[in-house]
């Protein structure tokens, strides 16, 4: 399974399996860090031509609405290709924010 090189500490690991990309995100994501996450994720999607994206959020204790906006942007891009975004191992604060934003049914949520 090819590993994808990234230049951001926010993405601890990225790898590709066929048309799917798996990324392990790490750290608190707010308006300060979300632009970097956006740049890295969109770059990965572009260079891999991935159709589906899975984000492991087990190492993300906190995110705000700017992080949600990044994930929604990735989702919108992949939906145009018939793909989707899955989120795994959500911590309680992240899960709660997704519920408030009514986005818990838009993403595929996995334990």
């Amino acid at each position: 399974m090819p590993t994808i090189n990234t230049s951001s500490d926010l993405i601890r690991e990225a790898r590709q399996e066929g048309s799917e990309v798996f990324c392990t995100i790490a750290g608190e994501i707010d308006l300060h860090t979300s632009p970097e996450l956006r740049t890295e994720l969109l770059d990965i999607l572009q260079k891999t031509a991935a159709k589906n994206l899975t984000l492991d959020l087990s190492n993300v204790p906190y995110m705000d609405s700017s992080a949600i906006a990044v994930m929604v942007e990735a989702l919108q891009r992949l939906r145009k290709l018939g793909g989707s975004v899955a989120l795994t191992h959500l911590q309680p604060r992240v899960k709660g924010l997704l519920e408030i934003a009514r986005l818990n049914t838009i993403f595929t949520i996995k334990e």
Binding site: D30, L31, I68, V72, I100, I106
Partner: protein, 143 residues
């Protein structure tokens, strides 16, 4: 006759100023959460108030100050008998976020999530336009 002013205890009132730089968001959020803990709010209530502080400050940075990162924001956290009051003052464009259009019905459309958090997670949200900016007051009650 000497007048004597009694300063409120730091346990009852905490005030600080930050710049409109997103790099300062995390510190202010954590200050709010720590203050709320000392006031006896539950863990989830502290988290709720911290997120609302984050969203309010981020809105000021992005919209009231249009991304300029050296403008002042003053935060005051005050203990109430039944919870915590948070006041956030900016000297930005004075646009009242509560008067802006509601979040689109399609949740994948951008915009408005910060206000959704405020309306959902704290008990009182009040924007008071100032001659030179905006005052936001929020209250979170103990469960």
């Amino acid at each position: 006759m000497m007048s004597r002013s009694v300063s409120p205890s730091p346990d009852d009132l905490l005030e600080w100023q930050l710049c409109s730089d997103p790099a300062q968001l995390s510190d202010s959020r954590k200050r709010v959460e720590a203050f709320a803990r000392t006031c006896g709010l539950s863990g989830s209530a502290c988290n709720d108030l911290g997120l609302c502080a984050n969203e309010a400050l981020a809105n000021i940075m992005r919209h009231a100050y249009s991304g300029v990162t050296d403008q002042p924001i003053r935060v005051t956290a005050q203990r109430l008998p039944d919870g915590v009051k948070l006041s956030i003052r900016d000297w930005g464009n004075g646009v009242n976020p509560a008067s802006l259009p509601a979040r689109p019905k399609d949740p994948t459309q951008p915009g408005g999530l910060g206000m959704i958090c405020l309306r959902s997670l704290v008990d009182v949200v009040r924007f008071t336009p100032q001659p030179d900016g905006m005052l936001l007051e929020m209250q979170k009650k103990k469960a």
